[in-house]
Symmetry: D2
Subunit: 351 residues, 4 copies
């Protein structure tokens, strides 16, 4: 049973391979009469697409989205919104050097073990390119959430050892690192360019905030707000960890430090990250994700082929030395999809 | 739409409140002809139940499980296995001091905001007691997984500032902290007892390993093995973060350090935590979870009542000063449920 | 993947075997704050239970329902409502004459082929007894539907060749056939008693009406109101067909006869059975189901055993010569569950 | 929560409106390594498309299918297979005469009541055109089923009062009525042409057989084989009833007539329609569906507009005087989807 769908009511199903005819998505469960602005969808896709800057891959793809159904006269009709991004460059390149090899850090090995067959042109279905479909779906969720006052913002908080020291969200889209601290951003950029020159890649931390959520979102027991955000985040290929509010620091805290006392004007602190018992408490939702260094590096690596024979090989093509800035719109999209689904689910708590 | 069910094929639905008639679970999708040993279910429940030691709550409950259906002559029949644990002590205690108050760190506030009504006797549905139902379901999953060579083990790796320095899994059940390092365990115990005396509570880190998994488990795109384990872990009330393999350390690693090269005899390292592209690679699955200090402490706290009037109050009753040792069987159970569901789903990858 | 659950938002999962410890149900997705009256649940169970009259089986079971969770101070809390009916008579009778035989018309053969194991004591999971759990769940749905003005009524419209000629719904519960025509009811009763004396059984037609539905219920394309009612009806073991509105008569009608014209005060006719394009149109929903004669008869029959060896055998025990009167509360329950689920789903059509 | 998806493991999600950019489908859960022959998909689409003969609509659409993903070198890869049929004629015709009117027998009224907005160009989402997407998905299911020896055939058994008297399946595709009796087919054709001349339409009965099914398909309790086939059939807009095996005739049968006795070489009769307790028994699955006369007729009809003002109006455009021959590939497709999903689900009954 496949995992290509996400969400129970606001339901997103993506399709497509990196080098196939198209990638796309069906967004189902969109309530009728929501204004759908294709420019806003394209805006988020442009933030995710390759070739934006020297810290992202040099590949150029326009990632132009096309709406195939579900929108009539600029409004959702309640029927499924299908969107497609046709792949521009489907030239049959020479993949012979990797067709039979499993690239370390990639899903080549596991897809082959799972299915006994794989589309070896690029990552196929496991390519980061699939996230474009999520970003398109997330843009729909954002438009719906905006109607009820919810906004989502993410940024790069750390790259390698460089951690943001100041916080000005108006700076995020002003630097190619998508960091809220322009000084740190400049250092991050240098750090990434250096890694790139070394044929290497580097990781980081992306932070996300969800604002304007009413108290009550998240479903006890298994579909808690944090549980679903965790699934959403870890479903992004490069993410290796997530923490909410005080996060891993809770291990060293006492209950008397960690509990957020409640006053008539709200919570005194936000160690919980805006979530109590898996349900939003009306405070800002806060989480951080660990982003691993891109698996595609320009250093000779050891691997095996489909016959389990060891090979030394060198990856070709153009890849991101640090994927963090492009993860930002993806985690926003996944958060928006998650939160809007839980928003709709919460409408059912009372009759 | 509720979140009381988990799993797509091996599907677990729990019910019950801490102070209701019973808690329990329906385990659906159990293949026919699996040996069901009620003693093994009880064994895991005993590891989870309160009153085990001086680092857990002094409440005594026998948590005796009863199988209501789905098992015939010691074997699963393919029909739903319903299990119930009847609550022994349903005496209507005096809850008047908390009936209208929202305890900090608990779900009282958010349940009330969500439903407009709540069972104020203890945590009701949000009580940690609900996890007994999960442990019973997890025991079924473990029995099925054992048939295909999969085992799961978890332990307490850190409490407060104390981190295990040695690793001997045969020690885990020999100390009340469930730590694989007996020296650290002794220190942890002192640390917890001290916190308890101070009317406080403390947090920690629990680690989990899943062994014997064949390559191929986990469903691209949204139901990746790590994504579902993350949901499973964060669905436990006290968990605030999760990381796989190298975890948050990836932020400071280069790709050349983080990639696990592949040799004819397997992976050279396991920074991935046994998961590539969201699919098990045949290596050990490794993850850690952050456990917050118990919210119930014996210090005066500020909160509001249902009319948003501020109150100072003191929690009564008996509570765990450190929940980590009791989280161990719960994360094992959630991992078992997750992995067995993905095991069954993977059977469908090929015809 | 099992089929023990029904409904997407208002979700019913039944468990239990005819001769196991208990049968029961988890009703999930009940909105908070609905008055739950256990007497109303018991009332419907009493209409379904065996031993009501001489046209039903002589077995006596009190079918006393017990609520285990989800109700606090007489109201739903939004958490799962678990209910159990403990089986009174679990004496290990002598089943040796049927343990290895597949009774014609029963699910013995197919369960064994499917699972390779079966609980041979009575019908096990395939027993009509399982429907008691559905009736309990349906009673909850009825209580919720009553709040929004929806009512459901079913009756026996035909038994063998005897068809009701008059229609007075106040008569339905006044005769043991549950027919709205007391004259036909008397004839039906004679017909059934005659069949019983002959060691035989007989079939019939049950009709159902759903009233007070607002226009808009039912989800286009696959979860149309009629599609889901059809699934609901055919999920009852004895049902072999369903038709809506004009039903199979449409085969001989012209479009100009069958179309229901619309006037300012509503539809001129109701050939559609209150459903257009799979969505309720505000008119009465009308359907009929074909109920087969009970498979358990007291005549010597030919069958095979588990080794495919032919056997002549005679069924023992007490069985219904005509199940129609007991199908009435079951189809009401399944309709209520279906309609309430679609009612909640329809709340999501607009934001 | 929308109803645009069908199937639990083999999962079909359709999208698109009759006059939008495209209609299409994502077929998810296709096991890897199945040969996908686009010609076979096109063959079934050609059997469904308009303009085939003088008993179907005169509209011409080529309904050319395009595979967007999930197939690599002629084989399924285990990833979602997306297919699209781009609409050729999207000219903005003049819909002013029906934009505000609810056509009797159509879903115009109910879609508007449900969503408060509708795509008034043709049927929009409720158009029969949507079934092309199902046929494409069904063709995939048929290819997979063929691998395990399952075949499905449907035909027109009755139109108006004309009922097939002979049965030769090789005749079905030889006449424009898709009837297995060429004499009856000729009469049916005359009957339909007469209705068409009168500006009217007519209904009929379509029969379907599923062959080669192993015993064991269908999931107790709610997802029985007949229950899911009933949902599948009734999800087709023109279908008003379904019956299995002896069908509505069971009302007048005795148990001794209706039970199918079992011999060492199989069942003596097939009154059950190949299904016992909702599970296939290895015999042929047999069912019939009632097809209503097309709602679009060329006679003046009464209806209301969006302001509930009565209007007399006349439908324009080209429509099918009898939809039965075009329902044949649709019911085959829905049966194939249903049966293949249950085939995969049945693989999970045992470990």
């Amino acid at each position: 049973m496949s995992g290509n769908s996400y969400g129970k009511i606001f339901k997103v199903t993506t399709f497509g391979e990196s080098h196939g005819r198209a990638i796309g998505v069906i967004v189902d469960g969109v309530p009728a009469n929501i204004d759908i602005d294709v420019e806003k969808i394209q805006y988020d896709l442009d933030r995710r697409r390759p070739g934006q800057s020297r810290v992202s891959t040099a590949r150029k793809e326009s990632d132009k989205v096309e709406i195939l159904s579900g929108v009539f006269e600029g409004k959702s009709t309640g029927t499924p919104i299908a969107m497609a991004i046709f792949n521009e460059d489907q030239l049959s390149k020479d993949y012979s050097n990797i067709a039979e090899l499993f690239r370390p850090g990639h899903a080549d090995y596991t897809f082959f073990k799972k299915y006994g067959i794989r589309d070896y042109r690029g990552g196929g279905r496991s390519s980061g390119r699939e996230t474009a479909a999520r970003v398109a779906a997330g843009a729909i969720a954002k438009m719906a959430l905006a109607k009820v006052g919810v906004s989502i913002v993410a940024w790069v908080g750390q790259v390698g050892p460089i951690i943001c020291q100041s916080h000005d969200e108006s700076e995020i889209e002003n630097n190619i690192m998508r960091a809220p601290d322009p000084v740190a951003a400049a250092d991050m950029e240098k750090y990434v360019v250096k890694a790139k020159k070394d044929g290497d890649s580097c990781g980081g931390v992306v932070e996300c905030r969800i604002r304007g959520l009413e108290a009550g979102l998240g479903e006890p027991v298994f579909d808690k707000l944090d549980a679903k955000l965790a699934q959403a985040a870890l479903s992004i290929g490069t993410v290796k960890g997530i923490e909410f509010g005080a996060g891993f620091k809770v291990a060293e805290m006492y209950g008397s430090q960690n509990n957020d006392e409640i006053t008539a004007s709200g919570f005194k602190s936000n160690n919980s990250g805006g979530i109590l018992g898996g349900i939003s408490n009306g405070d800002e939702v806060v989480f951080r994700i660990a982003v691993k260094p891109t698996a595609s590096i320009y250093k000779k690596q050891t691997t095996v082929d489909q016959n389990n024979v060891e090979q030394k090989f060198l990856i070709k093509g153009r890849h991101d030395p640090c994927i963090c800035p492009r993860v930002v719109p993806v985690i926003e999209a996944m958060s928006a999809i998650t939160v809007f689904d839980l928003y709709l689910r919460n409408k059912l708590s009372r009759m």
